[in-house]
Structure formats: structure tokens, C-alpha cells
């Protein structure tokens, strides 16, 4: 469908600027009198800081401030979205490779870099770091977190942050014909947004202004207000559209540091991370997940039993939420009579893990789906068949007490299988795999939007969503275009300034089309109601005789556009109509996650591939990904998100992982030795398709998308490798060397 309204593959709002380099990213913004900041770090993971000598660094011309823990308030201010455990700068001990110990602000970047190298940190390397699940759980291991940070917590003297128990039914009393038990590992991977994280701060009257590449500007505003004891109104947050984020830019990281530095110097300061530094700032939790799957001989699931260990890193960030939300749905989209899930967030001397596209689900999906395939093989049941047999029907309450299955998931699975040619004879040397992923959307939400219909019929939309490349601006504009009958080129979407744009809880969990989309829709409806009043007044008819729909005003005996009505109705003084919209999903304190799923992201991924018997290299010949999207407001953007997610999934499946040395240093910092897929690494054929039954909770029946196509990539590929080679590999990524080693072991 062409055009500007909902359902059209409308041109990306802001897309031209993005591809031509005109978009202003944070690093493109310069402030008068700005100082440049460079972090001081140690080339080790864990160390005791004995003293810091600034003398040599202070001699570098242009240096204005060298900030250390000593220069910050005592006790060290700490923050975090779940636990207030992250210090502004390391104090006493560094807990991961790259943790900032000090920061230099200087007149030029070069001076800051030169001085940062000269800050002498007298330290003792503590070689006994915690870098693995097994070490973390060893009672002789050092504690990553100071127990004083969680005084009343019985786990405070362990490296377990939290242990969560979910499930239903009684696993132990179930009788299964077959029980399959295995452990699956998932590596540490990083977001690798093309735009590295950037932060700026400047004194702003009696308050402060912060610029950040953040996904959650309003959370940042709260964080800074709390740390600096300022009212929200005195903390102005600018959040320019990020250049990719993938969850890695959700939560505040170094904004408090630049805020303190700018207050201390009285000048604007800015810190732009290098790619290497972003690796040390954000990653996905690595996991070891043991699954026991009970099956009847006909392939019916009897129970699922998970013990799930997430290695979350040195500070919690949002990782505990990743653990709970990821594991709560560990049993996936299936009807399982009994489920037991024990999920632990485990602290370690590694980069703090955070939200990352899929939010814990890719790890559990790798384990669950792979184990299901092992069961299917043992029972001699087709891997597609076993999934269809156990898959929840639309409306079925497959997780007791939670949102029932909100889509025709069978349809998506069949479509993926059909696109791949699951029933066709398998070409020699090839293998196929199919896997299903399920993620719950937001469990709470709060979005406000203001829409202004200006005097000439053009439109301003105010939305606190961050458009980091997912195309939020475009779909919001499409909603307004549809409702108010205004072409896209007469609509502007205003984001990223907390003093101008009303509150939005966050941009995460594929929520914005549904939550902010509804707020925008309601703001447009608010305007429609005002237009209706206006039209009734103009024609001297009763409001009940007037209706406004899709940009048109229907009156007794005539119709007019919204714009015509507006222009006449506003009269000679002009003016505008302002509409407000709100969408909320409140907390449900009874629910283990604090709320049921607003919607589910469901995806079926099917692949066909070849494995080079000499080198172990995998060539994916076909990759089909089908998501249940409710309705594609912009089909081209849906395709872009699904393909992007699929390719990102291929990254951790085939090549991405942090490589550590014995002392916990990340050896492959930066692009050269941390490989992500390029265009030449794509499947020979990659296709996405959408199931659209308009059965979502958002405007026009949309559901959130953009994470789904990543969830099930690994198990689909792993299963296909098994079919092609007979090898079962339970650790990612499936690098050529790893596949070759498995081939050698078999010989």
C-alpha cells in the first residue's frame, strides 16, 4: 500500500538525514567552551586501588579537572535502575576490565587523552577474579559486591544477587516416557551500536542540562535529579536520536560522572566513548542453562525443568529484570502441564550486563528449543510436528494467570515451514532447523503525547520515545496522518527534550508502537473531538450529528476535511488545536513480574544450511523468519526490523563472543577481533513475513515487533547443523573452529 497512512510503507521520517550523514548525533553537537573528558582505567579486571597521583597529568597543558572518587561526595553516590549499586567512579576496588577510576577534563580531546595516560593509579591486581558461573558459586570465591550494599539480604554473602522461582504444576510427580537433560551455554556479546555512547553536561541556570544517547531520557532525568538533589524541572535532558541502541543505551551509565564534572568546572563537558569502551560498558548476560524436558512418546510435553544461571557482571544495572523476565517465559509458547524454573542472577568481575534485544529470552530459547529437538530426535518425531503438537492455541492461558496466547501462532509456524520448504526433500549435505521464540512485551507502561494541529493544518507530535533507528517517528506521523488527514511532509515529530516533550516511561520491550502509538492516537482523537465541536458550531448543528474520521468531517448534508474545518473554525486570529493522549498499563503487584504481558512477540524461524566438511564453515542457504505482528503499520519498517533482528541473531549464533584472558581482561575489544555479520555473511536467501490478524492491543490492532526475529535464530541454526553433520553443539557461537573441533572429537 502506498501513501502516508497506517499500513503504508511510508518513507522513513528522518531517514534521508540518517543516510546522508546530516542527522545530528550527540557527538555532532558542540557547546561553547566545552571541555573534553577521557576516562582513566586500568588494564586489568579486578584491582585494589591504593592511591591516585594526578601530578604528571595535571602538567599537561589544557587540563582543567582530574576527577577521582575523592572529589565526589562521600559516601560515593550510587545509582541504578533496580539497585543503587553502581558508583559514579570506582572506589577502593575496580570490579571489571575498563571500570572508570578517574576522568580527565581538558580543553582538547588530545590533551584529555594524553593526561589520562599520565594519571598514576597505584594498585594491586587481584588475580582471583570471578569470571564464570562455577567460580562465582564456589564458596571460596571473593565476593563481587560489598555485602553492606544489601544489608538485609540473606544472599549478601554470596555472589548470587537473587534467586527466582517460577512455574506451575508439580514437576516431580510427572511421569514422562522420555526425559532429556542437557546444559546449554550462551556467550557474552555486546550491542555494537554503530554510534558509541556519548554524554554531555552543562550548568543550566540553577539546574543542569544533560545530553545523552540514552533510550530512557526520563529515567535519566530522575536519576540525575536524585543524585544532585534537584527538582525534575531543573534537570533538562536532551536525547538526540541514538544511532542504534538495542537495549545498551536504556539506563544511565556515565551521565552522573559528566554531571558532577560540569558542576565542578562550571563548564560544559563531554565524553564520547570509543568502540572499545562501549564493549566495556555494555553486554548481554552470558548463561549456563540446564534443562530437563519430559515428553510422552507421542511428543506431548509433560514437564520442563530449568536451572538457569545468568552471569550478570559487577553491577546490576537492569540485569535482575532480564533474569526474571527472560526466565519467567522459559517454557515458551507451549502447553506444559508442569514447569519449574530456578533462575539466578550471578555477580562477576566482568562488564555489567544490561538489556539487549530479546532481554534474556534468546538465552533460554537456545536451551529450550535445542533440548526439545533432542527429544524429538530421540522419539523419532518431526521437529515441526512436535512444535505444532504442543503450541498454545489462540486464547489459551498457557502460562497460568498470565495473558492468554494473543495470536494464531500455528499460522506463523506453518508459514515459516512453508517458506523454507520443510516438507520438500532435503538436498544432500544440508540440514534444516525450525525454532520458536516467545517474549512478553511490556508488563507496565506509561506514555503521554501531545499533538498540535497548527493553523495551516500542519501537525506537531510530541513524543518522549527515542527513535534509535526503529522508525518510531515514522509510525507516529503515520497515525496522525491517518487520523487528521495530513500528509507526512506536513508533520513534524518532536522528541528528545525533557522540558518540551511530555513524560514517557521508556523506549524498550518493543513497546512504542503500542503504548506511545496509543497515546498519539488518543491525542489525535482529542483533536478530532475538538474539530467535531468546531464543525457543529460552524454549521449550527448538534454535535451528535457530526462525525470525524480519517481526516474527514461528516456533517448533515456535507463533508469537509479536518483542515478546511480547522481554518474556518479558527477564524481570523488563527491559533491551533491541542490534543493530549495518555496510555498506561499499571503495575499488578500480584503478578510475579509486576504485570502481565501487554502482548507477546511470537516468532518462528526456519533455516536451511550447509556445513563445509573440511573447515567447519556454515553457509546458511535459506533463513525464513515469520513474526506475529498484529498489524504492520509500516510493512517496510517491519521487514527492516525483522531482517535486522535475524541478522543480529546470526551474530551471536555464528561468530560473536567476548574473549577473555585468565585475568578477566577482554582481549577482543573493538571491531578487529570481535566480528559481527557483514552483508557478505548473510544467508543466501533471507526472507521475513508477517502474520497480520489485527489482534494486538495497540492502535489498529498492532503488537510490538523488533525483537522477535532474533529469539529463535540460534536453536534453528544449531538444529540444522545437527541434521547436516550429526553433531550436537551446546555452546555458542558456532564458529568454524568450534564446528571443526566437534567434527574432530567425533572421529
Amino acid at each position: 500500500m502506498s501513501g502516508d497512512g497506517v499500513g503504508a510503507s511510508a518513507r522513513r521520517v528522518g531517514g534521508y538525514g540518517r543516510v546522508t550523514g546530516h542527522q545530528e548525533y550527540l557527538a555532532d553537537i558542540t557547546l561553547t567552551d566545552m571541555l573534553h573528558v577521557k576516562l582513566v582505567t586500568l588494564d586489568c579486571a579486578r584491582a585494589r586501588i591504593i592511591s591516585i597521583d594526578k601530578t604528571a597529568a595535571e602538567q599537561v597543558s589544557g587540563v582543567r579537572l582530574i576527577m577521582t572518587a575523592e572529589d565526589l561526595p562521600h559516601p560515593m553516590p550510587r545509582f541504578g535502575p533496580q539497585f543503587q549499586d553502581r558508583p559514579v567512579l570506582a572506589t577502593g576496588e575496580t570490579k571489571y576490565h575498563g571500570e572508570p577510576i578517574a576522568a580527565v577534563a581538558a580543553e582538547t580531546k588530545d590533551a584529555a587523552e594524553a593526561a589520562a595516560k599520565l594519571v598514576r593509579v597505584d594498585h594491586e591486581v587481584l588475580v582471583d577474579g570471578v569470571f564464570s558461573v562455577s567460580r562465582a558459586l564456589d564458596p571460596t570465591a571473593p565476593l563481587v559486591q560489598d555485602p553492606d550494599l544489601r544489608p538485609d539480604d540473606p544472599l549478601a554473602n554470596t555472589n548470587i544477587l537473587r534467586e527466582h522461582h517460577f512455574g506451575w504444576g508439580d514437576v516431580d510427580s510427572q511421569e514422562a516416557d522420555l526425559v532429556v537433560e542437557n546444559t546449554y551455554e550462551f556467550p557474552m556479546v555486546t550491542h555494537f551500536a554503530i554510534e558509541p555512547h556519548g554524554f554531555m553536561a552543562a550548568p543550566d541556570g540553577d539546574g543542569i542540562a544533560i545530553w545523552s544517547t540514552i533510550q530512557h531520557p526520563y529515567l535519566l532525568q530522575k536519576t540525575i535529579a536524585k543524585l544532585l538533589d534537584l527538582p525534575l524541572a531543573k534537570v533538562r535532558v536532551f536525547a538526540p536520536d541514538p544511532g542504534g541502541a538495542f537495549g545498551g543505551k536504556q539506563n544511565p551509565k556515565l551521565e552522573p560522572l559528566v554531571a558532577y564534572m560540569s558542576l565542578r568546572t562550571g563548564r560544559p563537558v563531554r565524553l564520547i566513548l570509543t568502540l572499545d569502551e562501549t564493549f566495556q560498558a555494555v553486554r548481554r548476560a552470558s548463561t549456563e542453562i540446564r534443562v530437563r524436558t519430559g515428553l510422552n512418546s507421542d511428543g506431548t510435553l509433560v514437564f520442563e525443568d530449568f536451572e538457569s544461571n545468568f552471569l550478570i557482571g559487577a553491577y546490576v544495572d537492569i540485569a535482575d529484570r532480564v533474569v526474571t523476565k527472560g526466565n519467567y517465559l522459559a517454557a515458551g509458547p507451549y502447553r506444559v502441564p508442569a514447569v519449574r524454573i530456578i533462575a539466578r542472577g550471578i555477580l562477576s568481575h566482568t562488564t555489567p550486563s544490561t538489556a539487549f534485544r530479546g532481554f534474556g529470552i534468546p538465552q533460554v530459547t537456545w536451551a529450550r528449543e535445542s533440548n526439545l529437538d533432542e527429544g524429538a530426535r530421540a522419539l523419532g518425531i518431526d521437529r515441526l510436528e512436535i512444535r505444532l503438537r504442543n503450541l498454545a492455541e489462540q486464547g489459551e492461558e498457557f502460562v497460568p494467570g498470565d495473558t492468554p496466547a494473543d495470536g494464531d501462532w500455528q499460522q506463523a509456524v506453518r508459514r515459516a515451514a512453508e517458506l523454507l520448504g520443510w516438507d520438500e526433500p532435503l538436498p544432500a549435505g544440508r540440514g534444516r532447523g525450525i525454532a520458536l521464540g516467545l517474549k512478553s512485551g511490556p508488563t507496565t507502561g506509561l506514555s503521554y503525547s501531545t499533538v498540535r494541529l497548527l493553523g495551516d493544518g500542519s501537525v506537531l507530535i510530541y513524543s518522549g520515545t527515542s527513535d534509535m533507528g526503529q522508525g518510531a517517528r515514522t509510525v507516529f506521523a503515520q497515525i496522525a496522518s491517518q487520523e487528521l488527514g495530513v500528509p507526512l511532509d506536513r508533520i513534524s515529530v518532536i522528541m528528545g527534550d525533557s522540558t518540551v516533550v511530555p513524560y514517557d516511561q521508556q523506549t524498550s520491550a518493543s513497546r512504542s508502537s503500542v503504548l506511545m502509538g496509543t497515546a498519539v492516537l488518543r491525542a489525535c482523537q482529542d483533536i478530532q473531538a475538538k474539530v467535531r465541536t468546531m464543525a457543529a458550531r460552524l454549521d449550527g448543528v448538534d454535535e451528535s450529528e457530526v462525525s470525524v474520521e480519517k481526516g474527514m468531517v461528516y456533517l448533515p448534508g456535507r463533508e469537509a476535511t479536518v483542515t478546511e474545518t480547522l481554518v474556518t473554525g479558527l477564524g481570523p486570529l488563527g491559533g491551533e488545536l491541542v490534543g493530549n493522549g495518555e496510555m498506561r498499563k499499571d503495575k499488578d503487584l500480584e503478578h510475579p513480574l509486576g504485570g502481565s504481558a501487554l502482548f507477546f512477540e511470537f516468532n518462528a524461524t526456519a533455516v536451511e544450511l550447509e556445513v563445509d566438511p573440511g573447515t567447519g564453515e556454515i553457509t546458511i542457504t535459506k533463513h525464513m523468519t515469520v513474526s506475529d505482528v498484529g498489524l504492520a503499520m509500516n510493512p517496510l519498517q517491519v521487514t527492516g526490523q525483522d531482517e535486522g533482528a535475524a541478522i543480529m541473531g546470526l551474530g551471536h549464533t555464528l561468530m560473536e563472543h567476548y574473549i577473555f584472558d585468565e585475568e578477566g581482561r577482554i582481549r577482543n575489544l573493538g571491531a578487529i577481533d570481535y566480528r559481527i555479520p557483514t552483508s557478505l555473511d548473510l544467508p543466501l536467501e533471507l526472507r521475513s513475513d508477517s502474520i497480520e490478524n489485527a489482534d494486538g492491543p495497540g492502535p489498529y490492532g498492532v503488537k510490538g515487533i523488533s525483537e522477535g526475529a532474533l529469539l529463535a535464530v540460534s536453536p534453528a541454526v544449531g538444529s540444522a547443523v545437527t541434521e547436516a553433520t550429526g553433531l550436537i553443539i551446546r555452546d555458542l557461537p558456532l564458529t568454524p573452529q568450534r564446528v571443526w573441533e566437534a567434527m574432530m572429537e567425533r572421529v
Binding site: 573440511g614 573447515t615 577481533d673 555479520p677 557483514t678 555473511d681 568454524p736 573452529q737 571443526w740
Partner: protein, 289 residues
């Protein structure tokens, strides 16, 4: 990045004078795809950077002269890959040029720079060894020529003396029909540094030239004269034995993140056998017997 003086000489003589004057404090700049990264990362901190791109004598050109194809020092990978004479006589060099970096890198990266940079993983090194390339060098004492095998020394090191620069790479047009193939091992298909680079050439007299890199301090060349490797009818096992022998000199890094030593050794055998097979298949038919 440390500041430096940037110069842009017009003649080779002037460049040589500057180089000689500043010695180790000077760095030559061709495409900059190696140098600029080293500057940015502070691995090299020259006082003077001498840009070669405005030197008339070094302008991009590929010419045929006296039984040689001469590739000037400013000629980039894209030009090499597109040149019909190179495609005809040196197809394995084309195969190596087209995998260097990405489209953007290949439009900047010079062949001379690839060799002068001295990386053990340089993609064009094995084919240049197999094709017996000659490096033309200008210096304070005039011109001299050297086999590429003598020119490559070790990691980051080539046989250039103070004041010397490379003006061209000269490839002798094979006198006998030849089949050759280039292959490499990488962790992914797009833009990657190779864990193994390998080129194999067989000629109508049954001589096999095999060069491989990235498994030791420099790319090495081995020549097999018995005719067994080039023999399409010799058994795979016999060939494998000879190849294994040729790979004994490989000393893959023990600490490399790119591939384990065992994997690299095994892949040398796999890639070696494959490149040999392709080279044999490419040897023009009428003379292959």
C-alpha cells in the same frame, strides 16, 4: 593522535630526499588504510608524513613492458582487480585483491602498501610470491630491484633502507601456461583479516609453487619440482603427504584469538589441497597432460 608535519612531494627524488633526511621519523602515506589507523591508535608517531599520491611518476598505472606487468606504487586493489591483463596472467592476484577489506578499502588500498606494511596476513603476499614479483625501489643511490621473497622480512619489516621507497611492483608474465588459485581462511566472509592466506600455482612443466601466510612471521614460498603435486592423476594421499611436508614450517601463534594452532595447521592442509586442485583445473587443458 600526535600532530605531525604533512608533506606532499611532487617527485620521487624529493620524496627520497625527505625520507633520507628524516629517517625513522618519517612515514610514507599511500592509501593510508594501514597508516592512518596506526597514527590514530598511537602505534606510530612520526614527525613527518610523506604523501606519495601527488608524485607524477607513481600515479596509478598498470603497464606491460619487456615481459613484465608493472604496477605503480599508487595503484589500488580495485584497479588491479579490474585490469584485463592482470586477470589474464595473474588471476590469483585478482582473487587476493578482491578480498582485501571492503569496497571502500579496496578503492584506497595500494598493492605496494600491502607489501610494505609487512603484515604476515597481507592477502597479496602469497600470490606475489607465487608469481615471483619484483619490487622496484628508489633510494638515495638510485634504483634497485629485488625479488619479493627477499623483500619481505618479518612482521612490519621489509628490506627497505633509509631513504628508500617502492616505486612499482613488477610481475613477470609467465612464460609457460600456468594455473593458480588464491584462498584464505577467515572468521567471516566480509572484511576480515585472514588466519591463513594461501596461493598455489602449477605450470605446464609440473612445477608447483605454493605460498602461505598468517601462520608465522612472514608469508613463505615453497617450490615443488617433482611434478607429483601438479599431476592430476596422482592420489590425494600422496599429495597430502607432500603438502604436509611443505606446511611443517608453519608456526601459528599460540595466543591468537583468530584461530587455534591446531585448527590453523589442519586448515593449511584443507586449503592447500583445495587450492592445488583448483590450480590444476585452471591450467590450460591442452598442456595439462
Amino acid at each position: 593522535m600526535k600532530t605531525f608535519e604533512y608533506t606532499r612531494p611532487r617527485t620521487v627524488a624529493e620524496a627520497v630526499r625527505l625520507l633520507n633526511e628524516h629517517g625513522p621519523d618519517a612515514q610514507l602515506l599511500a592509501g593510508g588504510t594501514d597508516l592512518v589507523i596506526e597514527l590514530r591508535n598511537g602505534w606510530k608517531e612520526p614527525e613527518v608524513v610523506i604523501d606519495l599520491k601527488r608524485i607524477d611518476e607513481l600515479r596509478p598505472s598498470i603497464t606491460e613492458d619487456g615481459g613484465f606487468i608493472k604496477i605503480s606504487a599508487s595503484t589500488v586493489m580495485t584497479d588491479i582487480a579490474e585490469d584485463q591483463r592482470i586477470q589474464k596472467y595473474f588471476p590469483a592476484l585478482v582473487e587476493s585483491a578482491v578480498v582485501v577489506g571492503s569496497v571502500q578499502i579496496r578503492a584506497r588500498a595500494t598493492l605496494a602498501g600491502n607489501i610494505c606494511n609487512g603484515s604476515p596476513a597481507a592477502d597479496t603476499a602469497p600470490p606475489m610470491l607465487v608469481y615471483d614479483a619484483v619490487v622496484a625501489i628508489a633510494g638515495p643511490n638510485g634504483m634497485r630491484r629485488m625479488q619479493v621473497d627477499d623483500f619481505i622480512v618479518g612482521p612490519g619489516k621489509v628490506a627497505l633502507e633509509r631513504g628508500e621507497l617502492v616505486t612499482a611492483i613488477e610481475l613477470p608474465i609467465p612464460q609457460r601456461p600456468m594455473g593458480a588459485a588464491y584462498t584464505r581462511l577467515t572468521r567471516r566472509r566480509g572484511t576480515d583479516l585472514a588466519s591463513i592466506t594461501l596461493c598455489c600455482g602449477v605450470d605446464a612443466d609440473g612445477i608447483t609453487r605454493l605460498a602461505y601466510g598468517s601462520v608465522g612471521p612472514r608469508a613463505v614460498l615453497l617450490v615443488e619440482m617433482s611434478g607429483v603435486l601438479a599431476d592430476p592423476n596422482a592420489s590425494h594421499e600422496t599429495k597430502a603427504d607432500i603438502l604436509n611436508e611443505m606446511f611443517l614450517g608453519a608456526s601459528p601463534s599460540l595466543r591468537s584469538m583468530r584461530a587455534s594452532p591446531d585448527y590453523r595447521r589442519a586448515m593449511l592442509r584443507v586449503l592447500g589441497a583445495r587450492a592445488l586442485q583448483t590450480a590444476i583445473e585452471r591450467l590450460p587443458r591442452e598442456t595439462a597432460a
